[in-house]
């Protein structure tokens, strides 16, 4: 079982990864270097509509864009499942498939759950790919996006001071 405090903490380097996001497309964390990155691990595609976290983040994208942040969703679902889910919920940001070896990236970030799903965990990375904020939500609670935006605010003001 993943310890609730097992998620990577602020200041720690974010492990590099390359994962498929479609039948013939891959995304690497390195592509996001130089700008803030939001990693949203979630248990599974097809949670019920209206309260769905990924659908909410799609709607909130203009707010993330204001920080120049890249947004990546990650679950253990297959690329085919992601494709169908993204089409049904109008999701246009990459949904990454942590499918084989299953949950390998979730494990590296300390958010692989005991039942074989990724936890509902958020990470905001700075442009140098260090964790600047992380949060693990109860599995059945959509954490919204306020924490992410607050973390992006803090990152921006920190960089302005630096």
């Amino acid at each position: 079982m993943t310890d609730p405090s097992g998620a990577l903490q602020p200041g720690q380097p974010a492990p590099e990864f390359t994962l498929p996001t479609g039948p013939d497309r891959q995304v690497s964390l390195a592509e996001s270097r130089g700008r803030p990155t939001v990693l949203a691990f979630y248990p599974a595609d097809w949670s019920p509509v209206c309260g769905d976290q990924m659908a909410l983040y799609q709607a909130a994208r203009p707010a993330f864009d204001q920080y120049g942040a890249s947004l990546l969703g990650i679950s253990v679902d297959s690329v085919w499942c992601h494709d169908a889910f993204a089409a049904s919920a109008g999701i246009e940001f990459p949904l990454l498939s942590d499918f084989e070896p299953k949950g390998a990236v979730a494990r590296q970030y300390g958010v692989y759950g005991p039942d074989g799903y990724a936890e509902r965990a958020l990470f905001v990375l700075d442009p140098q790919a260090r964790v600047s904020w992380s949060y693990v939500s109860p599995i059945d609670v959509n954490p919204g996006a306020d924490g992410i935006l607050d973390a992006l605010d803090a990152l921006t003001s920190h960089q302005a001071r630096a």
């Binding site: 309260g51 919204g144 924490g147």
Partner: protein, 183 residues
């Protein structure tokens, strides 16, 4: 929606302004802010209960409606939101709001235009403003304010500025309002 709880903040971060759509007496001791998507079926359920809540507690509560359209899930949500804003600048916000919730399965442009006609609104002018997205900034301001307050789905309620995570069945809503009024 199915995940009503939320975690990081529980306060309404955007205070009421003159720009808000308010129904009920200004001096009411309880202010209920609703973030809603006009095409969301759960908001449609809530609409009828809120109507009854205001009828049963006319002195106690005022309702504030703020937009939270999830247009990637509900293709007509933003269109409906812009239409109700166009009605709002003609002092018909609540009439159009009610029409939309009572015709939630018919929110395509043709039916929205019929709704405008039925309310005596200039449907061509409204359609033109909607097509030019004259009111889209207003809608998006509500949405971003909602995101900042931790809104994670619709409907989401705040009672006197504090997030309300309880059921929105009528008896629970009445109890929440009565409790806020007496505290």
């Amino acid at each position: 929606m199915t995940t009503p709880m939320q975690v990081t903040s529980s306060k309404l971060r955007v205070p009421l302004t003159d720009d808000d759509h308010v129904r009920g007496p200004a001096e009411a001791p309880v202010t209920l802010v609703e973030y809603a998507d006009l095409q969301c079926p759960y908001c449609g359920q809530a609409y009828h209960r809120l109507h009854e809540l205001l009828r049963q507690r006319p002195e106690t509560v005022r309702l504030v409606f703020r937009h939270f359209p999830l247009s990637n899930v509900h293709p007509y949500a933003e269109l409906a939101a812009e239409t109700v804003e166009a009605a709002g600048v003609r002092d018909q916000f609540w009439a159009m709001h009610d029409w939309i919730f009572e015709h939630q399965d018919q929110l395509d442009p043709v039916h929205l235009s019929m709704g405008c006609q039925q309310l005596g609104l200039p449907e061509d002018e409204v359609a033109d403003e909607v097509a030019r997205h004259v009111h889209l900034d207003r809608v998006r301001r509500d949405f971003v304010g909602g995101i900042r307050s931790g809104v994670n789905g619709t409907p989401t309620f705040f009672v006197n500025g504090v997030r309300y995570d309880g059921s929105y069945e009528l008896p629970e809503l009445i109890a929440a309002v009565d409790q806020a009024a007496s505290s």
